[in-house]
Amino acid sequence: MATVTSRAGRKCGASCRAEASRSTALCDAMAEEWLGTEAAGSGSEEEEEQDDGERRHQQLLEAVSALTGRKRRKLAERSEAGAQVSEFNVSCKGAGEKLVLSELLQPIRARSALSAVKKELNRVKQKKAVELPLSKEEAERVVREAAYVKSSKDVGKWQPVVLQNRRAEQLVFPLKEEIVAVAPLEQVVSAWKPRTPLEQEIFGLLHKTQQPITDPLLTPQEKASLQAMSLEEAKRRRAELQKARVLQSYYEAKARREKKIKSKKYHRVLKKSKRRKALKEFEMLQKSDPEAALAKLEELDQLRMEERMSLKHQNKGKWARSRAIMAKYDLEARKAMQEQLARNKELTQKVRVELPEEEPADVPEEDLTSTAIPPVSVRANKANPWMLGKPSDPAQEPDVPEDLGNAAVPVAVENKEEMSEEEEELSEEEALLQDFQQKRQARQRQSGSPEQHSEELTVLPCVCSVTEQDGSLGADETEEVSEQLPGDGSIHPVSVEEQVSPVIELPSQAQEEPLLSEQLHRVQTMEDIEALASEELTAEQEKPVIVGTEKPARRQQEGRATAKPAEKSATKKKIISLQSVLSGKLREAQCPNLPAVMVEEEDGFDQRGVITEAFAGDDVVADFNREKHKAEQAAKPQPLNLVLPGWGEWGGTGLKPSNKKIKRFLIKPAPAPPRKDQHLPHVIISEQRNIHAAAHQVSELPFPFESHQQFEQCIRTPIGSTWNTQRAFQKLTAPRVVTRAGHIIQPLSAEDVPSVAATTDSGTKLALETPPEQHKQFSRRPHKRTR
């Protein structure tokens, strides 16, 4: 279709038509135009008939060429003038000239349809060939690679969590605390269905009675009875409740008001009145119902016991301590303290269970009972601590009747004066208080001796409560003294014994000691014998070197100690001879300088002389010997001193532990093995490294530690509760992994870890869906502590 002749187009040869029909819209458009030209040139048909034969020939050729499909272009030949067919401005001069499609389309550029076609054509021309599809294997591989990258990235988001868990000091499993939901009984029961005939039978029996299984476990009858409460009753009850509430609030308000009153006087009066009231009541009770009074007494006794147990009035509280500080300067404070002490005293004093009605009858009885310890003698012997077998009883005995009254009523007993003069009591009491205060001060000035106390006791017949307190205080002091004294006495004999006993024991010990040491060396088993033999050998080897002169004496001793003197002496002789030789050498070595110099001088070497002159000051050999001696001394095992002063005897500054104790607790070490440089006079072999200890020591730095200081630090820090407080101990010994028995540990999941859950879509969804309780769970993960 590249080249077309107008004639051929006009006649529309079969082949041409066929081609046109085969072509696209472009070709259709062209065909239309050709038809137009055909209509225009129809007038000159006759002329053209001449050319018919020629055209036919042409057509034939064309058809033939169409068969091959190659030479079509060449066949397109023009024999007519170009003007006739120049409407498209196509120049087709020669058969060999090519017609370019774009040229053909040029005149109709303005027409949009064709320009689109042209564009398309251009595009078609530019397009390259589609590459061959990948082989199946390769395609799969690509997919795999992509998938692997994606999934490893997905998995990688767990990295921080994993690292955190690995580093965590403590992990508590299960990570998520599951809340055990107990299925309600009704559900369980209703869900269960009987299957076997036996079960069915039992089930049937049970359900005949219509036992309820839903939540309020009530039978219909019970429900009915519950509902049957009448309206009136309910109203009445409500009114009652209201009243009670109002009363309570009134009472509370009143109490609050009273409590707010700051006046001390008011409170004092209040207390007094209460006290009096109680006393009166008690007296009334005594008269009317002695048994009830007794019961009351019991109660009081109980109170006393409680007081004794508690530390309420012992001047130990915060307030009391502050008072104690103030007491020096403030009279009020002192008084308050005293009051409290008195209170304690009276509360803790024993109640005699005897009714005051029987008092006159009782007192002589008391006397009768106390005849064993005559009261006069008690008083007379108070100065003598030896006579106070039972110090507290006799001192308090005279006070008993008062004490009884005092303690019987919780708030101390009053005198008759007070009873009569109720109005003036306060001023009266104050006066009394001042009076006694002065007296006490006077007594203190006299630096209270026991006699003084007793005097006071006798003088003051316990008129009022304050005096009683005072008296009791005095008694207390005497008690203290008396208690201390017997204590002293009891200690004394012991110390005397101790002083005596060493005198008895010491000589015996002195005699026994060698025996004992021999006993220590006693052999029982084969191993002991061997060990002993080796020890002896070493001892013998050592000692002659150190002390060369004592040989004969030692030999004698050894001869005494050992059973077979003959054999051993032979060996010893050998050793001794060797040692003597060696020691001789040593002695020679001690002064090598002088003879050497002498020889040199004889030889006439001046240089040596110069050197000796130059180093005349330092004696190297002596230094060396000294050093060696020092090393030897240092290597000797030191005795272990376990003496603790003050145990079993008196200790303190200026006191030394007794010889006996030193002897007992100064542990002598086993003699050291012979030194290796024993026979080498010019050598010091250091034996610092302890082979026995080395077996227990770490030779290499273990893995996680970076320096040996670090490791040593770790070992040096104790973790036991002996060295650490309880809290620190718990922290130090917390286990790495904690699991709970009977709990299933589920694998980690995104819901457990909020950070991971946030990254994944599903995770976020889940987090959004979960109720706030679960959020709390995530946030409260105190288990995981990281370093």
Binding site: E145, Y148, L485, G720, W723, I744
Partner: protein
């Protein structure tokens, strides 16, 4: 006369009420408590000795199977229930507290190859040599009902392993290929293949549940992604891997039990070399299971022993064996981190303590404190030679002992030979290959 005597105020030591704690005055002055290192050392030594004295890990043996136990499955919701499948096709369900078999059923003809429980614990799946996958109810059948599976899927080839998804109603089987099944359908959702080989086990990742790992008999380990239904990567080792197990606390870590006596812990993101090579067994390792805490795993071996390895250590911390225990085929660590179950050739399932010297039962607070203290002391002084010697001492049967010795000699000889070869050849021509790299043949994309 006043004489000073010792006197103490009772307020300093008497309790105010009976319910108060007794006050124990302590003085932490270090001068009063000397020799702390020496004393703690002695305590540590004693603790170590006691640990060895009390190390009695074997609890009981569950007998009842009439053929070797081939697989064990844990119940996901009940600690006391354990399922086991034998080589004669019988499945038994055990109650561990009573140590009794509570149910026995003939599941397959031939071996029960694999077994897994559904995540909810209501049913379990078995695969057998008879080319079937069966789903069973966990409860025993009611009165008058027959023992039969809920579903049976008849396949074309033998299935060698099965594992259930951790959250969805999906399970995976392996045989000639890895099939992923929906529970409701009788044909697989997708089949994952990469070459043709018999795959011996397949495991779902417990954390990233769409990941699967499998090991085939052509010595490779293949990872799959269920979402994209494609394999991911393949590692070829020197010898065949029998089983693998994912770490339940670390999503990308898994351990493979290999025929070459070793276990390999891999990070799935870096497969070119394992994170750790665990060596101690003297025969093929047949099974491995992680502790639920993810800190340790237990391995069962053909050498008739069970070993416990810390994840980050190359050697085992514990070895369990008894005279009667034969080749251990399967092993499981219970979900409470306390016990280990192993099924062996001689038809028994054995129950061991995971911590050999642990005291079972409830501990008093003081006991617990003492235990913790002892544990810390042992840890602190573990490098001291005497303590190390005691702590490390284990008794081994003669066969294993001799084999270990023999293999040590062999290893030494190989090492020496390599050294000599390196010495006598051109420098650089015999490179030093690390132990980790030595066992990896290739990683295929």
């Amino acid at each position: 006369m006043r004489v000073k005597v010792l006197s103490r105020n009772p307020d300093d030591y008497v309790r105010e009420t009976k319910l108060d704690l007794q006050r124990v005055p302590r003085n932490y002055d270090p001068a009063l408590h000397p020799f702390e290192v020496a004393r703690e050392y002695v305590r540590a030594l004693n603790a170590t000795k006691l640990e060895r004295v009390f190390a009695k890990p074997f609890l009981s043996s569950l007998d009842g199977h009439r053929d070797g136990v081939n697989c064990i499955a844990k119940h996901p919701k009940s600690l006391s229930t354990v399922l086991s499948g034998a080589c004669d096709g019988e499945v038994r369900i055990w109650n561990l507290t009573k140590r009794q078999c509570i149910r026995a059923l003939q599941a397959h003809e031939g071996f029960v190859r694999g077994m897994c429980a559904r995540f909810c614990g209501t049913s379990f799946f078995t695969v057998g040599d008879d080319k079937t996958v069966k789903q069973w109810k966990m409860e025993s059948p009611g009165y008058g009902e027959e023992e039969e599976p809920i579903h049976t899927i008849l396949g074309k080839t033998v299935y060698t392993g099965i594992d259930h998804h951790w959250k969805d109603a999906v399970f995976a089987t392996c045989g000639q290929q890895v099939d992923i099944w929906d529970e409701q359908r009788t044909s697989p959702m997708c089949s994952l293949t990469w070459g043709f080989d018999s795959i011996s086990s397949v495991k779902f990742n417990p954390i990233e549940t769409y990941l699967l790992g499998s090991c085939a008999s052509d010595r490779n380990i293949v990872l799959y992604d269920m979402r994209q239904s494609t394999p991911l990567k393949k590692v070829i080792l020197n010898m065949r891997t029998n089983t693998l197990c994912w770490n339940p606390m670390e999503a990308f870590i898994f351990t493979a039990a290999n025929e070459d006596y070793n276990l390999y812990t891999f990070d799935m993101r870096y497969l070119t070399s394992p994170v750790m090579v665990h060596m101690d067994h003297v025969s093929a390792v047949l099974d491995v299971d992680y502790s639920p805490t993810g800190k340790e795993f237990v391995s069962a071996s053909f050498d008739k022993s069970v070993r416990i390895f810390p994840v980050d250590k190359g050697h085992s911390r514990e070895v369990y064996h008894t005279k009667r225990m034969q080749h251990v085929i399967t092993v499981k660590w219970t979900s409470d981190n306390k016990y280990i179950l192993c099924g062996s050739d001689e038809m028994n399932i054995r129950l061991w303590k995971a911590n050999a010297s642990e005291k079972l039962g409830v501990l008093a607070p003081r006991e617990k404190a003492a235990m913790n203290y002892n544990q810390k002391l042992k840890e602190k002084f573990q490098h001291h030679p005497q303590i190390k010697r005691i702590a490390r001492h284990r008794h081994l049967p003669k066969s294993i002992y001799c084999q270990i010795k023999e293999q040590r000699i062999m290893r030494e000889a190989r090492r020496r030979k390599e050294l000599n070869r390196r010495k006598h050849s051109k420098p650089g021509s015999v490179p030093v290959v690390s132990e980790k790299k030595k066992h990896i043949v290739a990683v295929v994309q």
